[in-house]
Symmetry: C2
Subunit: 184 residues, 2 copies
């Protein structure tokens, strides 16, 4: 299992960032998103995408984040620009074990730095937790996350120009989309 | 030059996403961010970060985006989940030429797909333009973007635990930060 723990989500303000974080987790190879606060808007957005494009990311709410980290059976990493550069750490993360990736919003409680096995910097400059998660997952999974299959109502057929969308076998195409059409 | 053209920014709603996009561009190796609408909040956030952590990203506003793409001397790519998978396209992008990376918000005008050299999918699943830009830049620059030096007031010394921040040579540490201190 590869899970992402999102710390410090503020409903309203972080709605889009946390939604992007969840979608990024799903699209780049994570199985699970753990939120520490319930946010119906985020949960509804993620559910709508998974309904259409295929499940793959379990979403759960665990207000007590300390036991989530402490009791995790597997490797625990925290993405922070203060950590060790990912070029150095990623090769040291064991494969074939469960992995928990902790991603904060603004301020992360100091003890998080102590509870994890590795604090990992996706560069030492401020940028975005969404970007950091994406690069980390792409590096850790060596691109395989982006090739993960999904069993959705819709499936994109990659195209040099325009948009090609197909219905998955046995499923009708909803609404406006047409199989293999070149719409934009 | 490596520039990012952000299409379709809606002031207010997209403020944080576009700020994250700009910071990601800067931290992962881009030189320039081109916005098509002025947004003082985004520009102020990016300026504040660059003041503290070092310049590196020129920000300009060009309301007419068509000539930006059309007149670009160099390669032009557009990140879209409908494009060709980046595993296939990235190796075909010439090195040593200027590169324009077009990144949309919600809806991208159909002609963008025609104006660029490559439509590139960072996976064929919906996620985040911030994540897509990050992974694209990391792949295209083979990690070098994340090693780019910045001449800021502050510099992070990567650390397995806690936070170590140093002033750059000849510059005083502002406010609360102390050189090589272990604060969190």
């Amino acid at each position: 299992m590869l899970a992402v723990l999102r710390l410090g989500h503020r409903p309203g303000r972080d709605k889009r960032t946390t939604t992007h974080l969840g979608l990024t987790a799903r699209a780049l190879g994570a199985d699970r998103l753990i939120l520490t606060r319930r946010d119906p808007e985020v949960e509804a957005s993620l559910a709508a995408i998974q309904d259409r494009w295929g499940a793959g990311l379990a979403v759960e709410v665990r207000p007590q984040w300390r036991p989530v980290i402490r009791d995790w059976k597997g490797t625990k990493v925290h993405l922070t620009m203060y950590g060790e550069h990912l070029d150095e750490v990623v090769p040291r993360i064991p494969r074939g074990r469960d992995l928990l990736v902790v991603v904060g919003a603004e301020k992360v409680p100091p003890e998080v730095y102590q509870l994890v096995d590795h604090n990992i910097a996706v560069g030492h400059q401020p940028h975005s937790e969404v970007a950091a998660l994406a690069v980390f997952l792409d590096r850790f999974l060596v691109g395989a996350g982006l090739r993960r299959p999904f069993d959705g109502q819709l499936r994109i057929i990659g195209s040099p120009r325009g948009k090609r969308v197909a219905a998955s076998p046995g499923r009708p195409l909803p609404g406006a989309e047409r199989a293999s059409s070149n719409q934009e």
